[in-house]
Symmetry: C2
Subunit: 344 residues, 2 copies
DNA sequence: TTTTTTATTGACAACGTTGACATTGGTTGA
DNA sequence: TCAACCAATGTCAACGTTGTCAATAAAAAA
């Protein structure tokens, strides 16, 4: 009981296999009668076009999602967004986690492209920041879409889905300033991490917009992890003039900061407001629930997938436009008005 | 500048394209001199075998990872394990999240198999518990490997990677009993959830093995979520005879329970020990860090992938053996000896 | 009616690879 | 010396599609 081919269908329907192909591909110029007969035979034999043969004659129907990110929540949300779009369009997704520091990324991807498996690629930070990589992939005839944080990149190599970190950092800082905080620490600055650069920039901008001076010493370097969050909070909380609020560069750092505050008998939010960034599950599993920034990862990813697919389908120079996404503050319970100084 | 084919290489090396094919596939009976010449040409042209054409002539080189699981950490660990194995063997992974309650799963997968994209399938709970589905997939000539929790299934349809929940539940309960707890609540029983059945069974067995009676009312039904964990803990903590320990069916429930205890001014672990299951990131981001059960997801997944690949390669009836994985208690800070009753 | 156009269908090659089999030339064993 | 063998290489069909172009029949225009 072998898999039926297009020829089996043709034989059963009493037409040439080319006609069947036409019906399957919904090409014009097939008479209603024949079309019906063919469809009937297809159903009867439970025929399914051989995807592989089809790819060989036409173009790849797969795209790759490339990431180097320890944050499983982020990855899954992105992945799900991409998959949902792929399903709709009949494309397949290949997952490609990688180490952005290794030189192999390019070669690995090139080999997938070269072997005709992959037609399009979705790049997330920090890989999407690597222009050399993008140029290289472009030279291999792949369609590339980048998801980028931080500031809008100046180049137009490939479409960008831009997550406006500067604006989000601004909004969040503004929120804290409006609550009355004047000494806000920023945890998780990372010079090589584009999105942290953007968030810091928004942080600074918000201060300037309100004419609130900010202390550079309150911008702390660190990783995007819980442990690092603890360390940084420790640094900040032992300062002579202890800040009244912490702007953590992501929720894990925030969770670490809350944890550290608790270890030092500092109550959150009464004595210390802590806000996060990302709206990951951690935000809801810390006490108090974290006020944070929500990032519509699913939608971003789905849009990215739609773009790549569009680019793969219309193979001409026609370029899809870049898009920006703005993020919003999700108010929960980890930030409130600061206590009066005298009360501390 | 088109992609070079095997014929281009052949022309350059001055041999027939079949010989090139032999070199590429490392077949025997090629003289050293010729082999060297061909390899040289391959390098020079940067030739890459066309994966698609290869699949068409031989068998699929892709396998699918099918899951229906809201837990991103679990999914990513599994996924990474599978991918790492796929990389080694030159296989490609297709991710297939799905809704286990829908009837479409079978059809979706059948369509991937039928179209020659997928040769093997890795099924996780609860899909792996669905014998009908497994039988159906088997009938479509797919290689299937199941990852199952709970008790060893009696059938031998397809190889199983069995996670020994009963044993793990036993170990954890034993740990609590040894600490001196006698009133232990079990949060997160779910009749349709195989692994919860296994964990409860281990829970009961441990009590019986030590001749400790247990109260059936302390086994609470609920979902595997933070919110549900809070609800269940609330139920249990308001009982007249409040338990001294909580065995949560996963870390999220445990985190919810800890949270709930805190809301009720019950200190963990002094007044209430709470243990989790899974060793997810949440376990380290709750205060105190959760004592929990570690599940080697990466290894399990990698083994599963190795099995499917083995089955795909050796296409005969030769069956890969099922395997069991035992889990261990990770002792952290959320459980300790119970206070004397008089002290409560 | 005859010619031209158009819609429908089919024959055949091509995609890039591997499998089955044929050919060549050299080595072995009687 | 010659048959038998074997290693090395080549020829050609096949995999299941789609693209190109030709052939037919029907409809429209002359």
């Amino acid at each position: 009981m072998k898999k039926p081919t297009i020829k089996d269908v043709a034989k059963l329907a009493g037409v040439s296999f080319k006609t069947v192909s036409r019906v399957v591909n919904q090409e014009p110029n097939v008479s209603e009668a024949v079309k019906e007969k063919v469809l009937e035979s297809i159903k009867q034999l439970n025929y399914q076009p051989n995807h592989t043969a089809r790819v060989m004659r036409k173009a790849p129907f797969s795209l790759a999602f490339v990431y180097d990110n320890p944050n499983s929540h982020y990855v899954i949300e992105m992945q799900n967004g991409i998959i949902s779009e792929c399903r709709k369009k009949g494309f397949e997704l290949v997952i490609h986690p990688t180490d952005s520091r290794s030189d192999e990324v390019g070669n690995e991807l090139a080999s997938m492209i070269g072997s005709n498996q992959i037609g399009g690629i979705i790049l997330t930070p920090p890989l999407s920041e690597n222009k050399e990589l993008v140029t290289f992939l472009l030279s291999k005839d792949a369609k590339v879409v980048r998801i980028l944080s931080g500031e809008q990149p100046p180049d137009s190599l490939a479409p960008v889905l831009h997550v406006d970190d500067v604006d989000a950092g601004f909004k969040m800082t503004q929120y804290l300033l409006e609550l009355g905080h004047r000494d806000i620490a920023f945890l998780g600055f990372h010079a090589s991490h584009e999105s942290s650069l953007g968030r810091v920039k928004g942080f600074k901008n918000a201060h300037e917009a309100r004419n609130v001076p900010f202390d550079k010493n309150l911008i702390i370097d660190g990783e995007f992890t819980f442990e690092s969050g603890m360390d940084m909070a420790k640094q900040v909380l032992s300062m002579p003039k202890r800040p009244t609020a912490i702007f953590a560069c992501n929720d894990e750092i925030a969770a670490g900061a809350v944890f550290c505050a608790r270890l030092n008998d500092i109550t959150v939010p009464e004595e210390l407001s802590v806000v996060g960034f990302e709206n990951s599950p951690f935000a809801m599993q810390t006490w108090p629930h974290l006020t944070t920034i929500d990032q519509p990862n699913f939608d971003i990813a789905a849009t990215a997938a739609a773009m790549v697919i569009e680019m793969m389908k219309s193979n001409d120079i026609y370029t899809v436009d870049s898009r920006g996404f703005s993020l919003d503050v999700v108010v929960r319970d980890s930030a409130c008005k600061p206590l009066l100084k005298s009360a501390i």
